[in-house]
Amino acid sequence: MIRLFLRHTEPAGRRPLRYLLLAAGLLLALALPWLIYPPVAMDIASWALFAAALDLLLGYTGLLSFGHAAFWGTSAYAAGLIAIHSGLPFPVAVLGGALLAAALAVPIGYLCVRNSGIYFAMVTLAFAQMIYFVANQWRSLTGGENGLQGIPRELLGLDLSDPFVFYYAGLPIVLLGLWGLWRIVHSPFGHVLVAIRDNPARARAIGYPVERYKLLAFVLSAALSGLAGGLFAISHGFASLQEVNWTTSGKAVMMVVLGGIGSLWGSTLGAALVVQLEDYLSTAGFDGIGIVTGTVFVLVVLLFRQGLWGAGRQLGAAAGRARRRRPKPPAATEAAPVPTPTTREEAAWTPSPRG
C-alpha cells in the first residue's frame, strides 16, 4: 500500500525560520498583484504550480519529462470547454481539466515509466507531440490554430472581469496545489520517490514496486500540471496550440532548473523569473529575447548548479556556519562536531548530482 498523505514523522526541533519563510512567501503571493501587473501575477502563479508539479517528477523522482505540455494543454482545453458549454463555476472547470489530465497520464505514464533518462524524456515528448497534433487537427473542438476563444470566468455570479479580482479568486487553487505537492514530497511516499531517484535497484530490492511508484508520481504531477493549465486558460480567456506545444514543456523544465531541481519553492522562483523576464523583454525594445533568456539560463547553470533556491540555501548555510563558529559559551563546543538533526534532514533533500 502506498502511503501518500500520511505525515512523515518530522524530527523534533524544526527551526521557526522555515515557518517564517513560508509566511513571507504567502505574504508575497498575496501582495503580488499590487507589485506587478495583475494578469502577469496570475501567469506567475499558474506557471509556479506547473513548474512545482514538474519538479515532483524531475527533482524528487528523477524523471525528466519533456512532455508535460500535454497535461497542461489538455486541461486548458478541457477546462475551457467545460466553462464554455456548461457555465459551471471556474474552479469546477479547472478541476475537471485536472482530472482529465490525470486520466490521460495513466496510459502515457504506464508506457513511459519503463524507461529512464533520455529515453523517458523522448517518449514523453513523443506523446506530447501526439496531443499537439490532435489539438491542431480536431478543429471543431479546439479551434485548431485559431485557438479556443472566449472562455468565460464564472463564479457564483461574481464579476471576475478585473484581473486583479480574478487573481484572488484563482490564487487559492494554486496554493492548494502547492500544499498538495508539499504534502506529497514530505509523505512516506515522497521519501520512497527520493529513494527510487537515488538508487532504483536498492529500492526494488527492499521490496518497493518501483514502476508503480513512478507511475503514481507521474499521474499526480500531471494532475497538478493540469490544475495549473486549466487556471491559465481561464485567466486568459482562451486556450491555444501554444499550450500543447513542446516549447511549453521546455519552458517548465527551464523554470525548474533555474529555480533549483528538487526544491518545490525554487520552482516557483524560477517561474517568477522566466515570466517576468518574458514580460519585461517584450516591451524592452530589444529583439533578441531568446538570446537574453538563453544567457540567463546558461549563467544559472554554470554559476548556480543548484538553481536560485540552492544558491540561496548555500548562502544561508554559510551564514549559519559563520554564526556558529563565533566563540560562544559551552553550547558552541557541543554543537560544532555533530551537525544538528535539522541540517542532516535538510541535507537529505539536496538532490544528489546523479539525480
Partner: protein
C-alpha cells in the same frame, strides 16, 4: 568611503524623484480635454523577434511613426491634439503574451488603438480584449476570416488581407486566364484548410476544376510525394496551388524547381506570399509564380514615393504589412480628427461606412456590417531575375482586383454586429 557611497545614492535618489515629478507635471498635465489623458496613444503589438519579424515587426512601428508625423504635418495647429505617442510590444507569437500585453497597453499605457498582431490565435485573443476594454483594434498581420466572421466585434477592424481575399483573387484570376485544372496541396491546419476551401470555391465559380486536393503534414520538409503525383495525374493539372507559408513554402518551391514541374506545363500558384519570402529565396526560385498581393511598393509613383521615404528610415523595402500599418494608423487619426475626440464609440462611428483612398488602401471602404476594410488588391507574378531592374523589384502586377470583388461578400461570414 561608505558615507560617500551613501551620499551619492541619496543624491541620485533625490534627482530621480525630481525627474519623475517633473515628468508627471509636464506636458500631459496641461489638460487637453478632447482626448483621453491629454494624448493619443497608438500601440503596435506584433512579432519582433520571431518568424514574422521581417515582414512586419519593428519596421511597422516605424511606419506608424511616419503616419503620426504625416498627420501632424497635415493638420498642424488644427489637429485634435499635438500629443501623439507610439508605443510597442513584442508578443513573440504567443497568444498568452499577446493577451496580457494588450490588456497592459490599453490599461497602463493608455493605448487608444492596437495595431498589427500577426498569428491568428493571438489576433483573436486581442480582439476579445478590445471588446472587453471597449478600445479600438486594427488587425493587419493575421489572415483568419474569423475576425470579421463569428468572432467579430464592434471595436475590431480587419485591415489588410484575409484567407478569402488571397484565395479568391488568385483562384478565380488564374482560372479565368486558362489554368482550368488544379491540384491543391495544403498544410493540414486551420489556415491551410480555410485557404483550400476558399480556393476550391473560387476555382469552381470561375469555371475551373480541382482535380485533387491533398493535405500535408505541418511543418513538413519533404513534398516529393505530392510533386511526383502531379505530373502523373490524368488529366494533368495546369496549376499546382500551394497553401504552404513561410519555411514550408520555401521547401516546396525548391522541390518544385528540382522536379522541373514548370517545364512539364504545371504552373505554380501560391496562397500566401510576402515580398520578404521572395527576397529570402531569390526571385528565380519563384519566377512565374502567381499570387495575390495586398499592396506592392513598385506599383505606381504614389507607392514608390512612400516606399522611398520608408526605405530612407529603415533601409529595407516595405512589405504590404508595413504599408497597411501606416495606412491604418493614418485612418485612425483621421477618424479621431473627424470625431474631434478619441472616445472609442465616436471614432468607431466615424469609421463605419467611411470611404477613402490612400497610399495603401485604394478605393477603400470600412464595411459597417462586419468591419472588414475592403480595398483594391493585386494579382501578381514573380519576375525572373533577368527582369529585376532594382533591388526588391520582384513583382509584375498582372491585374488589379477591384475592392468590391476582392473580399468576402457581406453577410456570408456569420458576423452579427
Amino acid at each position: 568611503m561608505r558615507t560617500t557611497i551613501r551620499a551619492v545614492t541619496a543624491v541620485l535618489a533625490t534627482g530621480g524623484l525630481l525627474v519623475a515629478g517633473c515628468g508627471r507635471g509636464g506636458p500631459g498635465g496641461g489638460g487637453d480635454e478632447k482626448v483621453s489623458g491629454g494624448k493619443i496613444v497608438l500601440a503596435v503589438l506584433n512579432d519582433q523577434s520571431g518568424v514574422y519579424a521581417d515582414l512586419s515587426g519593428r519596421n511597422s512601428v516605424e511606419a506608424v511613426r511616419m503616419a503620426v508625423a504625416d498627420f501632424q504635418a497635415k493638420y498642424g495647429d488644427r489637429a485634435v491634439t499635438k500629443n501623439i505617442e507610439v508605443v510597442t510590444a513584442d508578443h513573440q507569437n504567443k497568444p498568452d503574451i499577446a493577451n496580457s500585453k494588450a490588456q497592459e497597453l490599453y490599461d497602463r499605457q493608455q493605448a487608444d488603438v492596437i495595431l498589427d498582431v500577426p498569428t491568428s490565435s493571438a489576433a483573436l485573443a486581442v480582439a476579445n480584449v478590445a471588446k472587453a476594454k471597449k478600445k479600438l483594434y486594427f488587425n493587419i498581420g493575421a489572415a483568419t476570416t474569423e475576425l470579421t466572421g463569428k468572432q467579430c466585434n464592434k471595436y475590431t477592424f480587419h485591415y489588410a488581407y484575409d484567407t478569402y481575399m488571397l484565395a479568391n483573387g488568385t483562384g478565380s484570376a488564374v482560372t479565368k486566364e486558362g489554368g482550368k485544372n488544379w491540384y491543391i496541396v495544403y498544410p493540414d491546419y486551420a489556415f491551410g484548410q480555410d485557404m483550400q476551401k476558399s480556393f476550391t470555391a473560387a476555382i469552381t465559380a470561375a469555371g475551373g476544376k480541382v482535380l485533387a486536393k491533398d493535405p500535408t503534414p505541418f511543418p513538413n520538409d519533404n513534398f516529393s510525394t505530392f510533386l511526383l503525383k502531379a505530373p502523373a495525374m490524368n488529366p494533368r493539372p495546369d496549376v499546382l496551388g500551394t497553401m504552404q507559408a513561410g519555411g514550408d513554402l520555401v521547401n516546396l518551391v525548391k522541390q518544385y524547381n528540382e522536379f522541373k514541374l514548370r517545364d512539364k506545363g504545371i504552373k505554380l500558384s501560391v496562397g500566401l506570399m510576402f515580398i520578404t519570402d521572395i527576397h529570402s529565396l531569390g526571385p528565380d526560385a519563384f519566377a512565374g509564380t502567381t499570387f495575390t498581393d495586398a499592396w506592392y511598393w513598385n506599383f505606381d509613383d504614389r507607392n514608390r514615393q512612400w516606399a522611398d521615404r520608408f526605405t530612407a528610415k529603415t533601409r529595407t523595402r516595405p512589405s504590404f504589412a508595413h504599408a497597411a500599418n501606416y495606412s491604418a494608423a493614418m485612418q485612425y487619426l483621421e477618424a479621431v480628427q473627424r470625431a474631434g475626440t478619441d472616445a472609442a464609440d465616436a471614432v468607431v462611428g466615424r469609421l463605419e461606412g467611411y470611404s477613402y483612398d490612400d497610399v495603401f488602401a485604394r478605393n477603400a471602404t470600412v464595411r459597417a456590417e462586419d468591419h472588414r476594410v475592403v480595398h483594391d488588391v493585386y494579382l501578381a507574378e514573380v519576375k525572373p531575375k533577368s527582369e529585376v531592374k532594382t533591388d526588391w523589384d520582384y513583382e509584375r502586377i498582372l491585374r488589379t482586383i477591384p475592392a468590391a470583388e476582392a473580399f468576402r461578400p457581406v453577410g456570408t461570414g456569420g458576423c452579427a454586429l
